[in-house]
């Protein structure tokens, strides 16, 4: 039903519905629905204006600047870029294993980042959809509405995020765009005062994270049918896993599975990513479409991010998250869950794991160690891969003998999810829009599906800003026959 959509026989005669730009997504996106004369959805495309200029910009720059420079790619998950670049730089100077202190400080930073990003996404961007339903009035379905109706949830969300930011500040010097990781290590440890500051709140933070998981589990399990169906697409999944198959976001090997959970590859060395994955270019999008090389471009597209990771891992190392993972896995009845809104469930299980893992790490005296950095000899190639909050993130750099960057290739999480997001939009369009007149709630459902992937469009496109929503309906000749515009203040005109 969804697969035939891209194979319209005369796509040039289809009508277009544009949803532009997406609200509550970090950046600017545009959705085009190509309709035929009978108002049937034949194609769905998420347009993202990806600015590949960054790879050019860093050419000729010294490699040791990379961890600090490239985090400017993204205002929401800069730490992921910071760490992916630092890991690539470790490889560049031939340091494959950091000192225990350096690795643990970096891991702590990454956990803080994932915690704050997941808290932001769930409580600010997605909880309105889940708490109020996707058909709630737009003026109410936002964080202000959450604060009014569920003040305690909103408060906890804000404080969870703040805690994650505190972890980042302590490990990198600043809440946003700090330094912290250097090629071969880190520039600071965590002092006992800093540790105690974080320890003071951690039990409460873990408890809130657990409540958040219970909340979403209740929401999903009270109407499982609609949640499992909505924007569900069978996808391959890709993520890092630990050597023993456990959940892992900082290091580890690459695991890819098919929609039934069968292995495609496992524990693959991330340094060899270019052998495993390829990138396809499509004429209508600036953003590349990566795919698993062995499966080819048509069948090799995959999903990354919380849903992929929680489906992919064999277990969590922390007890509460592992308990929740088992419930999550049971809900799939032997198959990986594939529905867009179950991503929120997976995201909060990860959030819970982050809080537990932070608590464990804070008890580790290695954080106070003073052996911060290893030196090595400069080579020519460095690849760093981490699980960013939104999914697997690849940084690949080549440098000349003087240490200046000659080539860079970044595959950001949102790019990895490119095709999966398109498939989700198609599914919603086919299920909910096909044959209907356009209405704002229906079009909003498409946004909800996309938001579940938490596309960091500012990250994938390097464009910033939230803008009002515009829908327009164009006829087969490209003439505008109808339009709805939703302004930032919620006012609608047609």
């Amino acid at each position: 039903m969804t697969t035939q959509l891209e194979t319209a026989r005369h796509p040039e005669t289809l009508r277009r519905v544009c949803i532009e730009p997406l609200t509550r997504v970090e950046g600017h996106g545009k959705v085009t629905l190509l309709l035929d004369e009978d108002n049937h959805v034949k194609q769905a495309r998420l347009h993202i204006v990806e600015f590949r200029g960054f790879e050019k910009f860093i050419q000729g720059r010294p490699y040791w600047e990379l961890p600090v420079v490239v985090q400017r790619l993204c205002g929401i998950c800069p730490v992921s870029h910071h760490l992916a670049a630092a890991k690539a730089c470790d490889r560049l100077i031939g340091v494959a294993r950091l000192t225990p202190t350096a690795e643990k400080v970096r891991r702590l930073m990454h956990l803080g980042q994932t915690l704050q990003s997941h808290a932001l996404h769930f409580f600010h961007l997605s909880s309105p959809d889940l708490l109020f339903g996707v058909d709630d009035a737009v003026a109410h379905r936002n964080i202000v509405g959450v604060i009014q109706d569920h003040p305690e949830i909103a408060r906890q969300g804000i404080l969870l995020r703040k805690y994650g930011q505190e972890v980042i500040r302590i490990t990198s010097g600043k809440r946003v765009h700090g330094t912290g990781a250097l090629p071969g290590g880190v520039n600071k440890n965590v002092s006992t005062e800093e540790r105690d500051l974080l320890l003071a709140d951690i039990d409460r933070i873990v408890a809130w994270a657990e409540q958040a998981v219970q909340l979403i589990k209740r929401m999903i399990l009270t109407s499982p049918e609609s949640h499992y169906r909505f924007a569900s697409v069978d996808a391959n999944t890709l993520s890092l896993v630990a050597a023993d198959g456990a959940f892992e976001i900082y290091d580890g090997g690459l695991r890819a599975r098919d929609p039934q959970g069968g292995a495609i590859f496992d524990h693959a060395d991330a340094q060899g990513y270019a052998e495993l994955l390829r990138e396809e270019i499509k004429p209508w999008s600036y953003m590349k479409f990566p795919f698993i090389a062995a499966l080819g471009p048509e069948h090799g597209w995959y999903r990354v991010g919380p849903l992929a990771r929680v489906n992919n891992c064999d277990r969590f190392t922390t007890p509460l998250a592992e308990q929740e993972r088992q419930d999550f896995a049971a809900a799939g009845e032997g198959r990986p869950l594939q529905a867009a809104l179950t991503t929120h469930w997976a995201r909060l299980i990860e959030l819970l794991h982050c809080t537990e893992a932070i608590r464990e790490l804070l008890a580790d005296p290695d954080l106070q160690g003073t052996d911060l950095r290893l030196e090595g000899d400069l080579g020519s190639l460095g690849i760093g891969v981490v699980e960013a909050p939104r999914g697997t993130l690849f940084h690949h750099y080549e440098v000349d003998p003087d240490g200046l960057v000659t080539r860079a290739n970044l595959i950001v999480s949102t790019t990895n999810n490119n095709q999966a997001m398109n498939e989700a939009i198609r599914r919603v369009a086919a299920d909910d829009l096909d044959g209907h007149e356009l209405s704002e709630p229906l079009l909003n459902r498409i946004e909800v599906a996309i938001r579940a992937y938490d596309p960091c469009l500012s990250c994938a496109t390097h464009a910033l800003g939230k803008m009002p929503l515009e829908l327009e309906l164009l006829d087969a000749e490209g003439r505008r026959v109808a339009a709805i515009r939703r302004h930032a203040d919620g006012l609608i005109d047609r």
Partner: protein, 239 residues
């Protein structure tokens, strides 16, 4: 009883032959400066040390101190002129403070903060400039050079080498390196040279390193330049 002049109303003693800058720094005061370094002959080129004496604006690093002068430095009018000068410096090069190794310990950045210059204001030139990483121990990032000539003076006057010179005129002025290829790696420059340790910006930096001091512990994170003075003086102490 030594002779004195007044800086913003404060008595500053001086000795014959001292400039206003010399006397103020010796008295523990501060007038912002970039091309001035007490170890070298005054240069008077960057103009951020501008002060007013009886309504006339002069550069404090070159103006001789004299008895009874009323020197105005910390006034809004003078600071506004300095901000404009700094804003021009910032748009003339490519100064990306958030990504720069020198951030937090950069004299240019610290002087900008001192004068209250928080945004560049003028249109960026975005000049195309390169990084010279040919030397094994040091790099030169020409994007960050403000043509203060401190490296030129240090190499010539202390190292006896003349590795650096300013070449070209007006907008074409640029730092040139004396070597057959024009590259630092082919010059006689060495890590121990005085010229390697005088740059007030992040233009001349040791290689393979950066960001080693955590944010919050960098020199100007803690106190403004008017209190702690030039970063170079601190680095000498550490060395």
């Amino acid at each position: 009883m030594s002779k004195t002049f007044r800086l913003d109303g404060r008595e500053i003693p001086f000795e014959a032959g001292q400039t206003i800058m010399d006397a103020v720094l010796a008295a523990g005061g501060y007038i912002p400066h970039l091309c001035h370094n007490p170890e070298f002959a005054p240069h008077g080129s960057c103009r951020v040390c501008l002060v007013a004496i009886g309504g006339r604006q002069v550069s404090a690093c070159t103006a001789p101190a004299s008895e009874g002068l009323e020197v105005e430095s910390d006034s809004e009018a003078i600071q506004a002129t300095r901000r404009a000068i700094l804003q021009m410096l910032f748009v003339e090069g490519n100064h990306v403070c958030p990504a720069c190794e020198k951030s937090g310990a950069c004299q240019l950045q610290a002087v900008a903060y001192y004068t209250g210059m928080l945004a560049p204001h003028f249109t960026h030139f975005f000049p195309h400039r390169s990084v010279d990483a040919s030397h094994p121990d040091f790099i030169i990032d020409f994007n960050r050079c403000i043509l203060c000539e401190l490296c030129v003076r240090a190499s010539r006057d202390q190292d006896g080498k003349r590795v650096f010179a300013i070449s070209g005129r007006g907008l074409d002025s640029h730092l040139a390196i004396d070597s057959p290829s024009g590259r630092l790696g082919d010059s006689s420059f060495a890590a121990g040279d005085k010229a390697a340790h005088v740059c007030p910006t992040g233009a001349i930096l040791p290689k393979h390193r950066g960001y080693e001091t955590p944010i919050g512990a960098r020199l100007y994170d803690r106190e403004p330049i008017s209190v702690v003075g030039d970063v170079r003086a601190h680095e000498e102490e550490v060395a």
